[in-house]
């Protein structure tokens, strides 16, 4: 209980830090952010009056703490402000793009688990064997592969040569396959290593020895007894892969020209559309912090031993 309370307080502090960091990044702009934004919009150096009007319109004349407080209060109420470069609000722009990214994340997670679980189990059943060696080698290759290259490789082979899937864009299920495979296979490498480790632990446990000594078939022991228990930490820790998904979505969406949060962020960066940049960055940070919290708490709940082992800082 004390831990829970402490964890919640830290989370709130971190969320505060995330919002300050997100908001103050505008200050990194070389020169005046208002001028930089206007240059991107109009393509030429703005006049003095335009800059003054722009600052007035977007409330940029207030001192920094006041602007931050205004923004933070609006944000808590769900209002992320007005985009500089389009007529839409930031919240509605995010609302339009978010489902595409969630769809991609979910599909790639399914693919990742579909590859990782069998591979990890096969590795753990005979550690040090050929299958294990091949799977571990494959996992290392997967981790090392830049997903922008894997994306193009899939486009060349599956879309251009074999003509199985569309090259880019978004739409039905067929548009989802290549991006999800790109993102999912990289992720599967990390998860497979995890499945292997936890399976090795579980296969060593006394109840597995009991099951074996009862004369149960090896397949039943492995799949029914061991895997079920090994999957508990795996599923929770797979949640931590969210970082990989969010990092990867930025690049994969760019490769396949899918309208999602990643492409929204990249476009906003090039347009110097600060409210959009802040909105997306904040959302990503908040999602990530809350998932970590959820994973942490679930894990602790599922494995009470963690408490006694002492708490990682």
């Amino acid at each position: 209980m004390r831990y829970l309370l402490k964890r919640l307080v830290t989370t709130v502090l971190v969320l505060g830090g995330v919002s300050i960091l997100t908001f103050s990044m505008t200050a990194l702009t070389p020169g005046d952010p208002a001028v930089a934004a206007l240059v991107e919009q109009t393509g030429h150096q703005p006049s003095e009056e335009t800059v003054v009007a722009f600052r007035e319109q977007h409330g940029l004349n207030e001192p920094f703490p006041v602007r931050y407080a205004d923004w933070a209060i609006d944000t808590l109420g769900g209002d992320l402000g007005q985009s500089y470069s389009s007529e839409q609000t930031v919240a509605s722009m995010i609302g339009q793009r978010l489902p595409n990214t969630v769809e991609l994340a979910a599909a790639s997670m399914v693919i990742a688990i579909a590859i990782a679980v069998p591979a990890g189990v096969a590795s753990a059943v005979n550690p040090g064997g050929r299958v294990d060696y091949a799977a571990q080698f494959g996992a290392l290759v997967g981790v090392s592969m830049p997903n922008f290259w894997l994306g193009y490789l899939l486009i060349i082979v599956a879309a251009l040569w074999l003509d199985l899937f569309p090259v880019a864009g978004s739409g039905g299920l067929d548009h989802l396959v290549l991006p999800a495979v790109t993102l999912g296979s990289g992720m599967s490498a990390v998860i497979a290593r995890l499945v292997r480790t936890t399976m090795l632990d579980v296969l060593d446990a006394p109840y597995i020895r009991t099951a074996r000594s009862k004369g149960l078939r090896e397949r039943i022991v492995v799949y029914k007894h061991a895997l079920r228990n090994a999957l508990v930490p795996v599923v929770t820790i797979a949640g931590l892969q969210l970082s990989y998904v969010l990092n990867g979505a930025v690049v994969v969406e760019a490769v396949f020209q899918r309208p999602g949060l990643g492409t929204l962020l990249v476009d906003a960066i090039f347009a110097r559309d600060y409210p959009v940049i802040q909105g997306v960055t904040l959302l990503v940070g908040v999602i990530f912090v809350l998932t970590n919290l959820a994973v942490d708490l679930t894990y602790r709940y599922l494995d009470p031993r963690i408490d006694r082992r002492g708490e990682p800082a």
Binding site: T10, L13, V14, L15, G17, V18, L21, M25, T26, L28, T29, P30, F137, L140, V141, V143, S144, M145, P146, F148, W149, L150, Y152, L153, I155, I156, L160, L242, S243, Y244, L246, N247, V250, V251, A254, L265, V266, I269, F270, R272, I277, T281, V284, G285, F288, V289, N292, P312, A313
Partner: protein, 298 residues
């Protein structure tokens, strides 16, 4: 120096530390492969550009998009430039950047981690909340935003990747310091009246070296992927520069006609990252078996 080294807790004969590193690098076949790949890449980066007969920037429009041949082993690009030559120059760039960025991350993170772990109290509390905040973002997303706001350039990508990446070193070093700080040899040294600087330099720092080196080796691969990824998105090196990610991005319009333009840099990025990952994994298993779980969590 040497008498002091003999006084520090883990008694090892002279040279044993180096032998330990050497053995760590040659224990398994995969680690040897990793070490070999990394050495080969450094050799290519150092000597390659001098050996190549082409200029990485010289355009030869008569030879645009030529398929791989004896004259151009990896073909030519949309401006008739030799792809292999550009990749070799890119190797110099990518390895240089990766090492520089990793060095900054390592120094900054180690310094913060040492201070937080050794000083403790509110300093520790404040520094760790900063670390938490930085680790609260997926790394590439945060680097992307920072580099983007600073303005597209390779230098800004380096700054962004360094700023974003030191936090995991700080966390690792802090926890190592916390676990060493209370050990007998540190207390003994303190009771002998040694200065803080002495305790840090002789006892704490040597004990965090192994895990930090392992993390850094694995991190080099990550930095290479990050640099290439941000350049691919258009935030890093700008077109005439032979940077791997930029080259890959400019090949996207020629996927059907000139497949080598995206695949040559792609394979090279993968081999490089693969080499560093193999090396890092091997070092981790050999040097700090107890730390491996910890490093994996980061």
């Amino acid at each position: 120096m040497s008498e002091d080294a003999a006084n520090s807790a883990p008694h090892r004969p002279v040279g044993a530390r180096w032998r330990r590193w050497y053995e760590a690098l040659t224990t398994t076949r995969l680690t040897k492969l990793g070490a070999g790949l990394v050495c080969a890449l450094f050799a290519l980066a150092v000597f390659g550009p001098a050996v190549s007969p082409y200029d990485p920037a010289a355009q030869a429009l008569a030879h645009r998009l030529e398929a791989p041949s004896l004259a151009h082993p990896l073909g030519t690009d949309q401006l008739g430039r030799d792809v292999l030559t550009r990749l070799l120059h890119g190797a110099r760039l990518s390895l240089g950047i990766a090492i520089a960025v990793t060095a900054v991350r390592l120094s900054l993170g180690t310094a913060v981690g040492l201070v937080a772990g050794y000083v403790g109290g509110w300093v520790d509390e404040a520094l760790m909340r900063l670390v938490d905040t930085l680790l609260a973002f997926p790394g590439i997303v945060l680097a992307l935003v920072i580099a983007g706001i600073l303005g597209p350039s390779l230098t800004n990508v380096m700054v962004a990747l360094a700023v974003v990446g030191w936090a995991s070193y700080a966390r690792l070093v802090r926890s190592s310091v916390l676990s060493v700080r209370e050990r007998e040899f540190v207390t003994a040294s303190r009771l002998l009246g040694r200065s803080r600087a002495h305790v840090l330099g002789r006892h704490l720092i040597p004990n965090v070296v192994a895990p930090v080196v392992v993390l850094a080796t694995l991190d080099v691969g990550g930095v290479i992927l990050g640099t290439a990824g941000l350049s691919f998105l258009g935030l890093g090196a700008q077109p005439p520069t032979p940077e791997w990610g930029t080259m890959l991005a400019s090949g996207r319009n020629y996927l059907r006609t000139a497949w080598w333009l995206v695949n040559a840099p792609g394979v090279l990025i993968m081999l490089t990252v693969f080499g560093f990952n193999l090396l890092g994994d091997g070092l981790r298993d050999a040097l700090s078996p107890t730390q491996s779980a910890h490093i994996e969590q980061l």
